[in-house]
Amino acid sequence: MISFASFPSTSEASASYAQARHPPEVEEELGMDLDEDDFDEGVQRLTVPGEPITSSHAFMRGHGTFVDNEEVIASVAGTVERVNKLITVRAVRSRYNPEVGDLVVGRITEVQPRRWKVDANSRQDAVLMLSSVNLPGGVQRRKLESDELQMRTFFEEGDLLVAEVQAFFSDGAMSLHTRSLRYGKLRNGQLVSVPPILIRRLKSHFVALPCGVDLILGLNGYIWVSKHVKESEQEGEEGFDAEAVYSNRNDVIDDATRIAISRVSNIIKVLAAHFVPLTDTVLLEAYEWVVDQESHVKDLLHDEFGEHLVASLGVGIRQ
């Protein structure tokens, strides 16, 4: 009897890892090899809850399925995916399903003894342990009692941060860490929330658009749009400056950058409303199109303008 946990176990994670890393052409070729039984590859199969997919003798059930009467049955509406003998159904829209190594953007909801609770758009709040953050005075420093007492000087309720999924607890809650100079508190920008499925795994989730805007595409569907920070100005290893890293103050942001930030945020909202997967190329193209139109930033909020934008990219639908 094989039992399945509700959170990604290592074997499944590695299976989907392998699948996710192939470029589309390679994946199609792989798909050909897997051709078997009643699974005609190249054609996406969609299901609704309660719909039988296949026999449970020949296949194993994965996420989004259950077994009843020797049949594998879908429990969510979405696309059927198969890796060898493992059948999973991916819901079209759902909450974020964390995997180790994912980059997420979250918001502190609670400060608890030696840990923060972080809302990361998942089924439970994530946990950020005091021992998983970089503290002032060297990266490898021991956490002291005094650090515990001044946790709110690092992160307070409502603070936004970018972090990586480190591990899972036994109940499936995720544990985060910010032990990198790229991670930590967020400022100088604005948060946009989109369905998590629209954010694909990319080579880098830190995107710098040429219009002076930095993007952090959290895999949990939270996107941080902020003023561009030059590489050289990023808080360096030696000069790890707690003041700067945990500062709650925004830098001075000029009007042009403010407009660019809100324009990018509005573009993201429009694309998400039309269910377009977000990548840097799509965003860039959309941004160029919007600038070409010489429109005001708030024009993007009109449905009509948004539809023109999406049509010009040749993607998406109106729901």
């Binding site: 969609l46 609704v48 309660g50 429990s75 809302d119 040749g314």
Partner: protein
């Protein structure tokens, strides 16, 4: 009694022109509502219900958190303008609490709550218009909203109301019929034909019960077809949009999409 509307006239038609076993017009809207994870608006004739689902998310009520499964939290609000006579109902109205408890217990065995320990799934039901069959509309809309939120369900839950006029069974009652006839609401899971809810607040002859119960189960299958079609349309549209976006800019947007029809 001359002013009274005939429930079933000599020609076999009901007051709104339907036949005995005819269901009212069903429309389903599964578009996104605000920040909700899933939402659905369903209309059965003149009854209209909107359901929004949030979650599974961190349980806010610590005391009610279950360590092995998610908690379903159903909250219902009835718009004051939804009935013929305008009346404001408080959230704590007994009738409303009773309905939300019925809906909660209907979905408890259907939602795979064990996948989400220590979480909470919030189901907010807004009744926009009422013309009979309130519970059935709430249940159907909740099913659809849960599906759009990507919450794993064992099956659809399809509810329909039925009543008996002298010896003739009727389906999908309006307020007018509900007031005059003994009636019941049945919720079925179409694949296994299991029944998750039967409620009857009136008295009905025991020999009539079987007829109307079986008829309602059968009608559930019909409603299932409608709901399934709506969900499939939405899935095809969203997956199509995502594929077009993913293939952009060089790919072909007309990727083959098939739906199994069973």
């Amino acid at each position: 009694m001359s002013s009274r509307v005939e429930i079933l006239n000599d020609g076999g038609f009901r007051s709104d022109g339907r036949k005995q076993y005819e269901l009212r017009d069903i429309t389903i809207d599964l578009s996104q509502q605000g920040t909700a994870d899933g939402s659905a608006i369903i209309t059965h004739g003149l009854t209209q219900v909107m359901v929004t689902v949030f979650g599974p998310r961190e349980a806010k009520m610590r005391s009610q958190t279950l360590h092995d499964r998610a908690v379903l939290n159903v909250e219902m609000s009835v718009a004051p303008f939804s009935t013929g006579e305008r009346r404001k109902r408080s959230r704590a109205d007994r009738r409303i609490l009773e309905l939300s408890a019925a809906i909660e217990s209907t979905f408890e065995p259907v939602v795979q709550t064990s996948l989400y320990p220590r979480s909470q799934i919030d189901i907010y039901i807004h009744v926009l218009q009422q013309d009979g069959g309130l519970l059935q509309a709430c249940i159907n809309a909740t099913t659809l909203a849960l599906i759009t939120a990507g919450v794993p369900l064992l099956d659809f839950v399809c509810a329909v109301s039925g009543g008996v006029h002298s010896t003739e069974p009727l389906l999908d009652l309006t307020t007018l019929e509900e007031n005059d006839l003994p009636n019941l609401t049945v919720a079925v899971m179409p694949r296994t034909r299991k029944v998750t809810l039967v409620t009857m607040e009136t008295r009905l002859h025991v020999e009539r019960f079987r007829d109307i119960f079986e008829l309602a189960c059968e009608a559930g299958q019909t409603i299932h077809k409608e709901m399934k079609r709506a969900v499939k349309d939405r899935t095809v549209a969203l997956v199509g949009a995502m594929d077009a976006g993913a293939k952009h800019p060089s790919g072909d947007p007309d990727r083959d999409l098939t739906m199994e029809d069973r």
